[in-house]
């Protein structure tokens, strides 16, 4: 997935707004929204919230979790734990980015919050790198929960895609080299295997 596709996926999340106009229910394919009552908070998809915001038809209400103390706790927990902590939103990073871009003025302590979120992200990226290393180390170190598996559970979509260009590719390459080694081994055992170098299969 490209970054703009990830953002597209993140934009279907619901977010709170306070409209400054009245309007009836709208029956979208993705679900009914409304009614819009001026001054009354309600939830709509982010893509629509951004549109209304640009037209100055609403204020955006940042999600509950976008609050200094709560994020500070989350950051500490992330540092304490070996595994990935469950984020308050499966599109945590993308929603944050969109809020910063479109509704920065609605967020109290915006600068501090930006820093905390970046810290959380960096901590998780460091863990992700360690986890990725684990895939290539021959002798596995046992994880704290007794398993030798690297756990990706609780990673957000965005984070998974940050690893994607590299991790699966590298693993595929290692697997490919292993297969070639095995093939060479079996080629040595057979006396002739003339066409193996011309295999056009695509690994």
């Amino acid at each position: 997935m490209e970054p703009d596709e990830l953002e597209f996926i993140g934009e279907k999340e619901m977010i709170g707004i306070i409209p400054n106009f009245n309007f009836d229910l709208i029956h979208l394919i993705s679900g009914t929204i409304g009614p819009f009552r001026a001054g009354l908070p309600m939830h709509i998809p982010i893509w629509l919230a951004m549109h209304l915001k640009r037209q100055q038809k609403c204020r955006i209400v940042p999600p509950n979790w976008m609050e200094k103390d709560l994020l500070e706790d989350l950051k500490e927990e992330e540092k304490r734990t070996a595994n990935f902590v469950k984020m308050p939103d499966s599109n945590f990073m993308i929603v944050s980015k969109l809020i910063f871009a479109y509704a920065a003025e609605e967020v109290a302590d915006i600068e501090e919050i930006k820093t905390i979120i970046k810290d959380i992200f960096d901590t998780r990226q460091a863990k992700l790198r360690t986890a990725m290393d684990g895939f290539f180390v021959e002798e596995k170190t046992t994880q704290f929960d007794g398993s030798t598996q690297v756990s990706f559970t609780n990673l957000t979509t965005f984070e998974i895609h940050s690893a994607r260009p590299f991790l699966p590719y590298a693993l595929d390459l290692v697997a490919r080299l292993e297969r070639v080694c095995q093939q060479q081994q079996s080629n040595l055992n057979e006396t002739h295997n003339s066409s193996s170098h011309f295999s056009s299969s695509y690994y």
Partner: protein
């Protein structure tokens, strides 16, 4: 048509997913969209082509046409029109991207795709009729081109088409999210992997292809 009716038959009623089925499987437009989104992301993440979600695509295209017709009667300054249009754009993008992604795989691995499809029993076909036709015609167009510009001028039997087959790497690693508990599977290093609900794993596609097909897991 009154404003009230515009969206009525879209959301108040459920759509019949399988018209020939005795016990009708009903699905709301919202569920339909969610299923298409999952099919789209799965397709984008899988190295091989997945089963074509024709029913979902056809139903959603029907919804789009219906909605677009109804929108014509709403004045363009009506908020509803803008909002529906924006949503339609999003849905059309998902469908177009889904179909393009499949065509791309058919183009990249044409011969492999056609041969595999022919091996599959009738109830396990993965390509739509139009996709298979596209793949076959595409394959022919390339072979004709090769023949015209090169092969016909060459001594016979120098070209072996079976050596030119390009295959997807079905052992390629994919990120998997478990939707329903699936017990454990053994990975390529002979380790047991616990596929508990909501857990995320990085596994070779081939090992989880069947679970993906059943919808017990999805790709991310």
């Amino acid at each position: 048509m009154s404003d009230e009716n515009i969206e009525n038959n879209l959301n108040e009623s459920e759509i019949n997913l399988d018209e020939e089925d005795e016990d009708d499987e009903l699905i709301t437009p919202q569920e339909l969209l969610e299923k298409i989104e999952i099919a789209w992301i799965n397709e984008k993440s899988a190295p091989d082509i997945l089963e074509y979600q024709g029913e979902l695509v056809d139903l959603m295209m029907g919804q789009i046409v219906h909605m677009e017709e109804n929108l014509q009667s709403i004045p363009s300054n009506d908020l509803r029109k803008t909002v529906h249009k924006m949503e339609l754009e999003r849905i059309k993008y998902i469908i177009a991207s889904y179909l393009r992604c499949r065509l791309q795989k058919l183009e990249d691995f044409t011969q492999y795709m056609i041969e595999e499809e022919k091996k599959r029993p009738l109830n396990k076909k993965r390509l739509s009729e139009a996709e298979l036709k596209f793949a076959e015609d595409y394959h022919e167009s390339i072979e004709t081109h090769f023949h015209q510009l090169a092969l016909q001028h060459l001594p016979p039997q120098q070209d072996d088409i079976s050596k030119r087959i390009i295959r997807p790497n079905v052992m390629g690693h994919v990120f998997v999210k478990v939707l329903k508990p699936c017990g454990t599977i053994v990975n390529t290093k002979d380790e047991e992997v616990d596929l508990s609900e909501n857990s995320i794993h990085l596994l070779p596609y081939q090992l989880i292809a069947e679970l993906l097909n059943k919808g017990d897991i999805c790709l991310i």
